[in-house]
């Protein structure tokens, strides 16, 4: 096909949807997770570090939970071991929640955008 400024295919990009508001809301959520520049002042550095560390802890905590569930499903654990493991993970979750509150972070804050791979959590 001949390329020319008159080519109607090269008109301004078109956006077509019957659910514009819903997409605006969702795309706003996605852009909110994009990395922003970090201001080097004491408070934001502390919160930035807390966010990074807690994200990694949350990631490991979820891995541990999955592993525990798999072992429970596989019949590897006695009822006492299940109870003990469950209690330990429950306490870990509560502690992490406490730390999140302390640093003013929400569940949505604890994630990392890994580019083409997707998000960590």
């Amino acid at each position: 096909m001949e390329l020319s400024p008159e080519n109607p295919l090269m008109a301004e990009p078109q956006i077509e949807t019957a659910h514009a508001e819903e997409f605006v809301e969702q795309l706003r959520c996605v852009t909110d997770t994009l990395p922003s520049r970090i201001n080097i002042d004491a408070q934001s550095v502390e919160q930035g570090l807390a966010k990074l560390v807690l994200t990694l802890i949350e990631f490991i905590r979820r891995l541990l939970e999955k592993q525990a569930v798999r072992r429970m499903e596989g019949g590897d654990l006695s009822p006492e071991q299940i109870e003990e493991l469950g209690l330990a993970l429950m306490k870990l979750e509560a502690k992490l929640q406490e730390l999140k509150t302390q640093f003013g972070l929400t569940d949505d804050d604890l994630n990392l955008d890994l580019g083409p791979i997707g998000r960590l959590i």
Partner: protein
Amino acid sequence: MKLYAYCLVEDLDAFDPTTRGISGAAVRSLQIDDLAVLVSDFNADTVAVTKENALDHAAVVRSVLDRTAPLPFRFGTLVTGQQLRSYISARKPALQTRFEHVRGCVEMSVKIIREISTDNETPRDDITSGTSFLEEKRLALLGSEQKAAEATEISTWLHEQVNGLIRDEQATVRSSEKLVLAAAHLVERDKIPQYKERLAAARKNRPELHFLFSGPWPPYSFANIELEFKTQFGVS
């Protein structure tokens, strides 16, 4: 003084000298070997991330889309002329391969939203034993695995719908979110009408999904030169 780099182009016979870029700066074509880079002079060390600047960047890249398929730089790429020359010289075979890949094509975008149940995501307050805690987690895990399977199915389904009409695809699947799929398709210009017809028909078959189609765009998702550029020079 640094240069703000918008995109790499080939086969650009003429460039409109009245084109304006970031902050209204004049844009010029910097010829390096048989390629050209659209640049403007830039006095500061960083580029403010504003809607106006993002739109200015996009407008410059788009200004050549009717004549060629540009390889856009990432927004905010500041370099020296020497860095650009070194980069192009060192990466020429890779850049030529990239140009061959996008030549004659534009990027079309498809985003899909699905309704997801959050029944299993609300933490219960009555969990006091370790066993019930793990049981709750087991149910949540089952739910997330189901969502992941559904997301993969949607991604595969979309690919099948446009198969044969696209040269390449970049799909981001977010199984736990409502915006479950964001796909970029590299489409040859003369196949765009067929591509649109195919998607319009496909949409009718999946009324439970909400679609957003957009384009044509410059092939942003298929350029990938900013990553190479960073690796090469540490440009931020």
